[in-house]
Amino acid sequence: MMRALWTASTGMGAQQLKIDVISNNLANVNTIGFKRSRADFQDLLYQTMRAPGTPNATGQPSPGGIQLGLGVRTSQIQAIFQAGDLQQTQNELDVAIEGDGFFQVQLPNGELAYTRAGNFRRNADGAIVTPDGYLVQPEVSIPSDATSITIGQDGTVSVIRPGQTEEEEIGTVQLARFTNPSGLRSMGRNLLYPTSSSGDATLGTAGDEGFGTLAQGFIEMSNVNLVEEMVNMIVGQRAYEISSKVITTADAMLQAAGAVAR
């Protein structure tokens, strides 16, 4: 009986976590470059009270054993790196990646982080930075007198200076790729950190084998699907409710058992 109580509480805990993950997805439905996550569950260990085939009281081998499951646990919260929809912005420093790859960003402490959010700006020195002011690597500096900026599909950045008619190439936006992007650690601000499970970044040029191409004037929207999340939320909420009913039933049974002894 107490087992049922604990089992049901693992169920409630798991469904609560599912709702937590969904609420973060929903909160980020308009976050540029956001990747939704999903809580994956697995059944906990089974307590084998009697193995199948054990002789019973009459000496016959029993047809089946008794295996009591002890509930559920979260195996992982997995980020799903499906592409989000591209939205046209006409902004010359908005860049979306069509296909695989991440932009490489340098944090103020010198460490590298990765992002799919390509809503870039210029800082005071003309360098291309994220909205938080982190430098995009390798660094590209845009001359202050540039009249137009073009970012090609392969990541080459060219500008036109006043009085010139030809574009001048000033740098390249490189992309990074990971064997297992699900292993990247989210650290907020649309940034991801490599871990031992994601592997090290492989750098390359946009359009190379395995890398996506760049689209200037577009941003990649969040890949959260509202309808899907709402359905998942209902499923999680109901499952939570049902596990709580198990606790109510177990409680009623305990109460009945307690009433026997006077």
Binding site: M1, A4, T7, A8, T10, G11, A14, K18, D40, F41, Q42, D43, L44, Y46, M49, R50, G53, N56, A57, T58, S62, G64, G65, I66, Q67, L68, G69, L70, G71, V72, S75, Q76, Q78, I80, D100, R177, F178, T179, N180, S182, S196, S197, T202, E209, G210, V235, R238, A239, I242, S243, K245, V246, T249, A250, A252, M253, A256, A257, A259, V260
Partner: protein, 246 residues
């Protein structure tokens, strides 16, 4: 009289175990590829009767000896996820997983890649292909066809091993959505299965059925407790009478 008392106790224990099983089923109602269990009671009462009529009364044994659990191997519903790493079996069959405790079988196809591009289960064990683990070339898109063959740029890089288990009821559940074969399990290579990429198989727990079972278990338990109370009352009255007579 004692028979009635012990029958009620046995019934209570059974209903408690039944709720344990229901609780586990309901806790796993959102667990990919989960298979629900049920518990059965194997005519314990009839055996007590038999032994009463046979003049040599002997110990009737542990109540648990008359219960057994069985797993429901019906398929769960498939639902679309559009994640290329999610794979479901639309037919009978199992994926093969190599763990530190030996070969296991699973219906849960929420896979991922490790550092070297090897296909792993959600809990980090290599998924077996025909002839070893499945290795993809770094970061390139891949497709999985209905037979379970994995392609990258039109070239076959591996094939998911799918087996058919003729008597799944002999397998043992080990948690982590995996089953372990026992000596009695008959495993055959599958030639007739359908793999669906971008979908997952849900849990096969039927909530309505479980809720019904749960209410029944709760009520039955309460009735048994009332029988125990009643027998206790009868005992007490009998004792009082005896006391008065003597």
């Amino acid at each position: 009289m004692h028979n009635a008392m012990w029958s009620a106790v046995a019934g209570s224990v059974f209903q408690m175990r039944r709720l344990d099983v229901i609780a586990n089923n309901l806790a796993n109602v959102n667990t990919t590829g989960f298979r629900g269990d049920r518990i059965m009671f194997d005519s314990y009462l009839a055996q007590i009767d038999d032994e009463r009529f046979a003049s040599n009364r002997k110990n009737v044994g542990n109540i648990s000896d008359y219960m057994y659990t069985a797993t429901n191997f019906q398929q769960g519903e498939l639902h679309q996820t559009n994640n290329p790493l999610d794979v479901a079996l639309a037919t009978e069959g199992y994926f093969v997983v190599q763990t530190d405790k030996g070969t296991m079988y699973t219906r849960a196809g929420n896979f991922q890649f490790d550092l070297e591009g090897q296909l792993m289960t959600g809990n980090g064990f290599p998924v077996q292909g025909e002839g070893g683990a499945i290795q993809v070339r770094d970061g390139l898109p891949f497709e999985i066809d209905e037979q379970g063959s994995v392609y990258q740029e039109g070239e076959e890089v591996g094939r998911l091993q799918v087996v058919q288990i003729q008597n799944p009821e002999t397998m043992e559940k080990v948690g982590g959505k995996m089953f372990k074969a026992t000596r009695a399990t008959r495993i055959a290579a599958s030639d007739d299965h359908r793999v669906v990429q971008g979908a997952l198989e849900g849990s096969n727990v039927n909530i309505v059925r479980e809720m019904g079972q749960m209410v029944t278990a709760g009520r039955a338990f309460e009735s048994y407790q009332q029988i125990i109370s009643m027998m206790d009352n009868v005992n007490q009255q009998a004792n009082n009478r005896l006391w008065q007579v003597s």
